[in-house]
């Protein structure tokens, strides 16, 4: 479904990614893990078109996304749930979801999708008219994921959905991601909670200072000595 070949990217003169190769197959859940500042967020930004790569290719569903403007990536079927959730604090929950359904195809099916998202996250239904800025962190994360789902993406990008949440809530969020998988979505998730995320995904990549240091199936990585020592404290 998604294939990155030799992607390099950065901010101005600063280069954050160096020749990344990465693949996500249809129906898969893939994790990108790594320390702070490794370039995980940058990688997701490249995939969702926020940053144009310096070099390399992004092929999505057999199409090269090179010439698309940032806002056109959603219509191609890539939804990006950004780091720190980034809800619109002064819009209501429902208005936030509405923004997730901005593209024409989603707009035409808005009512159905709203019902569907409320079924996935029943708590959101009670809070639909509340301002998003007044929700708790966990609730905000749900709305952020719901907002990304409103476009019924082929590929869902999640950037550290568990960051800043209490352990109980973290479990809950991982549970949600599992359910989204079961709904048949292809997911690329960035996480710092390496142990937990490896329980969830099929394969994973370890990113260090802008390069892929390791990759393999979740099982392989769980048993990798280097990863266990350096990142899981085992």
């Amino acid at each position: 479904m998604l294939k990155l070949t030799d992607i390099s990217a950065g901010y101005g003169a600063f280069q954050a990614l160096w020749g990344i190769n990465l693949e996500v197959k249809t129906g898969e859940a893939v994790a990108v893990v790594g320390p702070n500042g490794a370039g995980k967020t940058t990688l997701l930004r490249v995939i969702s078109g926020q940053i144009a790569p310096i070099s390399g290719q992004i092929i999505f569903e057999e199409r090269n996304l090179k010439d698309l403007a940032p806002h056109q990536f959603v219509e191609e079927g890539i939804a990006h749930c950004p780091e720190n959730r980034r809800l619109f604090p002064k819009l209501t929950v429902e208005e936030n979801l509405k923004m997730g359904a901005f593209i024409p195809s989603a707009r035409n099916d808005y009512a159905n999708r709203l019902i569907w998202v409320y079924q996935l996250f029943p708590q959101m239904l009670e809070r639909r008219h509340q301002l998003a800025g007044t929700l708790s962190g966990g609730e905000q994360q749900m709305v952020a994921i719901g907002r990304a789902l409103m476009s019924k993406p082929k590929l869902l990008l999640l950037d550290e959905p568990s960051a800043g949440l209490a352990p109980v809530i973290v479990m809950h969020v991982f549970d949600l991601v599992r359910r989204i998988r079961e709904e048949g979505f292809t997911v690329l998730i960035v996480e710092q909670n390496i142990q937990q995320v490896l329980e969830l995904v099929d394969r994973a990549y370890l990113l260090e200072v802008g390069t892929v240091k390791l990759d393999g199936t979740a099982e392989e990585l769980k048993n990798n000595e280097f990863l266990r020592q350096a990142y899981m404290g085992l």
């Binding site: 926020q50 403007a69 940032p70 056109q72 002064k90 208005e95 923004m99 901005f102 907002r147 990304a148």
Partner: protein, 289 residues
């Protein structure tokens, strides 16, 4: 002397009516500031252009007023679009002060272009509406009409911003412009639409003003500065705050003119603005983020 000072009451009522127009004026400016993050220094001159559009269509070309007036909304709306596309968009990523100054150049251009075409004379659309008398109160019907239209305009804008996709997107951009492309929203397009909308608000304000005032090329100076003050006092980009600030300022001006002179009441309003800026730079009605 009556038990009750009718003249003062009249001043207060006029202040409220004037406040409606000011609130509408502030609304358009605030919209552009909140969404595009730019101050149109030439905003009042867009209103002036709208007044001349009505004048030209109605007086020179003989269109009926009910047809000529809406054209101001369309015409100035288009101007708003052009201003954004030609002047703001090319320099949107440069220091903010450049945008302020470029629209300052536009102010200068519009004033003098109007002088070139219409001369510096005062012109009016020759409409004389009756004065209403309620007990001993005399209220100008045109002011009442303006107030009503301003309120309708504001309700219309409110509905647009709260009910439509693009209206919601406009509010969303003001809160977090960076992630709009993740929603599949083209921010540039939102900016254009917002600018057109702000232009249309200026066009509506032009209708209200042309009902009660003569138009001349420099009329913008009489209400432009006060409009900026209102926006800032209400908290730039804060539509509700601007609305209330408009009524505060209009009361100061109206009651001040009643007791002293018009100039002094404006001086008080400006000084109040400066002081407010020192103690609450985010405006009286702070954005509740």
């Amino acid at each position: 002397m009556a038990l009750f000072d009718f003249f003062l009451l009249e001043a207060i009522i006029n202040g409220i009516l004037f406040g409606g127009v000011l609130a509408l004026l502030a609304l358009g400016l605030n919209l552009v500031f909140g969404v595009v993050d730019v101050i149109w220094i030439a905003y009042a001159e867009l209103v002036m252009s709208g007044m001349y559009i009505i004048y030209t269509l109605h007086i020179t070309w003989g269109w009926p007023l009910l047809l000529a007036a809406p054209m101001a909304i369309v015409g100035v709306g288009l101007m708003g679009l052009v201003v954004h596309r030609l002047i703001i968009a090319p320099i949107l990523d440069t220091p903010p002060i450049n945008q302020l100054l470029a629209t300052g150049g536009l102010l200068f251009f519009l004033q003098n272009f109007a002088t070139l075409i219409f001369g510096a004379d005062f012109r009016n659309i020759g409409l004389s509406l009756p004065i209403l008398q309620i007990f001993e109160l005399y209220i100008s019907f045109s002011r009442l009409l303006s107030f009503g239209a301003a309120v309708l305009g504001m309700i219309g804008l409110y509905l647009f911003l709260s009910r439509t996709y693009i209206g919601t997107a406009i509010r969303a951009v003001a809160q977090d412009r960076e992630i709009m492309s993740l929603m599949g929203v083209n921010t540039k397009k939102v900016y254009l639409i917002t600018s057109a909308l702000a232009g249309a608000m200026a066009g509506l304000a032009a209708i209200l003003l042309v009902l009660q005032q003569d138009v001349h090329p420099f009329i913008g100076f009489s209400f432009g500065p006060i409009t900026f003050m209102i926006c800032v006092m209400g908290g730039l980009g804060n539509l509700i705050g601007g609305f209330f600030a408009a009524f505060i300022i209009s009361q100061i001006i109206s009651i001040g003119s009643f007791y002293g002179s018009t100039e002094l009441s404006y001086v008080i309003a400006f000084v109040l603005f400066i002081i407010v800026m020192f103690i609450r730079p985010q405006g009286i009605f702070k954005r509740n983020t």
